[in-house]
Symmetry: none
Subunit: 214 residues, 4 copies
DNA sequence: TATGAATGAGTATTCATTCAT
DNA sequence: TATGAATGAATACTCATTCAT
């Protein structure tokens, strides 16, 4: 009985490993070719499989995409959390959380594409399905959460902290989008610097307000 | 000789008119079907042409896209300029310029898609080409210019005004992107309100600084 | 030795039971999805098996089809026999036998599809094989037999009775085919009524002849 | 102007010729491989085209099928009409009309398959479309019409003549189906003879009735 | 300037079957 | 006996582009 359990466990582990290899292959294709080039054939070839074989492991192409995105978001969460853990002051945590978020996507621009591609849920017939959308949403929220928490620790209300968080998310996304399309360079600026400036302005204001009200 | 010139002029005018009709058709297709649905066939059909015929007027599908984007940017410039012209105070001009920019794309989300699709130039073999990129850049800059000018009128340096302008551009883009993909709604927020808040925060800070230094 | 036999017997019984369950599942799939939808995967899923598992019980997809057809024909035989048993006069038996045949397929049109699909044997490399074809033929003959027997009882020769039987078979098949493809409706007619008329015409003629010769 | 008309006429003729060549190729594929083997690729290959090229001439695979069927039905009509024209008496016309119908499909069994495949209209999403279905229906009706006309000439009511016509259609279809699937041979019979017998029985009855009532 | 015709590469997905475990 | 995994061939159809006319 225990032997069977052990075998089942190992079988499951092999299964998961193969899935992971496929997801890894998909990630490599994304990185090299972008979303447009990430056809099922290309992913299968990169993974050393026949296209049909992938359907044993995933229900559809979009399901593979979703898995890539999920692991990307998990990575992002981890990176942000680690950065925050190193800081003692709320202001420091706010700064590094936002910058870690930004830097992650600055380093992995395709991951941002992927997220935005998949998050167009609802319009597409095969758009993830509600449960997977929910799951990915949660993962994204978790990655951003430290920003709101740090803001609260700096003394703003929960609502305002959320607004700040979403604002940072939007600003980072916008800057990365502009960077990605060469618009930032064209204005002779630097996206990371602009992001840092955005965050610092916020912190400055929060500290001023703290000084006034404290 | 003059007769020939006249004929050439008229020929050229007819040519331009036909181009314009095609671009108009393409715009309609974009609006109705989005980027994915805007195949050359669809555009040709909408314009009342055969696909092959479009190649007499444009070098490629992307060239048509570029023309649509150009006219979109021209429209944007006009809208922003008109909004600014109605305001007397620098603060008012800053506010309406940024909001006009945002509102334009909030109302025409396909135009934003198009811009970002085309501005991925450089990596793609058929990505606009340098001279067309330059031209579109200029159009975009002009649309944003009023924001910087208003900021300067509020007393900040030219460099800082430019930074503010690019920041507003990025923030608007990010918010629209998030809105477009349903992320804003998911956080229970409103993109226009967040944009207004972003602009108002800036203006408040600039006026405070003005009060201090003035 | 006897214990071994008993075990073999039970093993065989279990085997047959499992086969029967698969055939039942296949029948359900046929009924719900028709021939096109009756893929091996679908049948396996309906039976609670993996596709590969079915190959331990049947040589091929067609072999499963054949088994479904065999049980369908057995059913048909039973239905016809029961109908005939209730009638006392030869004319009555002729009528109900033919109509029972017709009604069976009118109620189970998929079974007719299946029969015609499988009976295209000979050209296809995997077409049943001769022995299975023979077996199904016999089952079909048995189902039709009561028609010929009733005709003979009405006084016609054995040869003519056979001809009448095959004619009724053909007429029923043709009507059902036309019904199935909407041609009967298109001519504003009713397949069951046409079948009844066909049978009644025969009986009338047989009785006239009987009166003359008797 | 006339030259242009002439050119247009020729262009149209070339166009029709090419369509006809494709239809011919499709017919050959049908004959050799049956419905299942008549994939778009196969038809294209047989016609000496790329699959994509066929889409310039036809909207879909089913549209090609429909064209093959249409020409088949036109042929059928012609064959039946010619046979009828040669006969002077109503009885002769009835006999040859029914037998010509039967013989046509006995010689071209794939054409029957095709008809029944396409006439499943309504259930399929791409099932011909109502107007094409209508057109094919009319062609079929026309082919059968001489049977009803001859029956009327033999003195039966229009309604009964229609019933006879549909009955002959059904009987022929059924016999051909059984022949096609080897069931006739299995009973040691001959489909043409059975068909002839069916028709002759009818004629005999009609003439008897005529004698009585006349 | 415009068309009809054609291409070749591409798309995701389904299928029956096989095989090592 | 049963499974998970994999294959190779097949499916209809779409795309941007080219070219002779």
């Amino acid at each position: 009985m225990m032997a069977q359990q052990r075998r089942q466990g190992r079988t499951q582990a092999v299964r998961d490993l193969k899935r992971e290899l496929i997801v890894e292959a998909a990630r490599r294709v994304f990185e090299a070719e972008g979303l447009d080039g990430a056809s099922l054939r290309a992913i299968a070839a990169q993974a050393g499989y026949t296209p049909a074989a992938l359907y044993f492991h995933f229900d559809s192409k979009e399901a593979i995409y979703a898995e890539v995105l999920r692991s990307s978001l998990a990575n992002l969460s981890k990176v942000v959390a680690q950065a925050v853990a190193r800081m003692k002051t709320p202001a420091g945590r706010l700064r590094v959380a936002a910058m870690a978020f930004f830097d992650f996507y600055a380093r992995n621009p395709r991951d941002l594409d992927l997220g935005f591609y998949l998050f167009r849920g609802g319009m597409k017939p095969k758009g993830l399905g509600a449960e997977r959308d929910e799951e990915l949403n949660t993962a994204l929220s978790e990655a951003l959460r430290p920003i709101a928490e740090a803001a609260e620790a700096l003394g703003v209300s929960r609502d305002e902290a959320e607004i700040l968080m979403v604002g940072a998310f939007a600003h980072a996304s916008g800057l990365l989008l502009l960077e990605h399309t060469g618009r930032i360079r064209m204005f002779g600026m630097s996206a990371p610097k602009l992001m840092a400036r955005y965050v610092d302005d916020w912190i400055e204001r929060l500290e001023q307000r703290g000084a006034r009200t404290g």
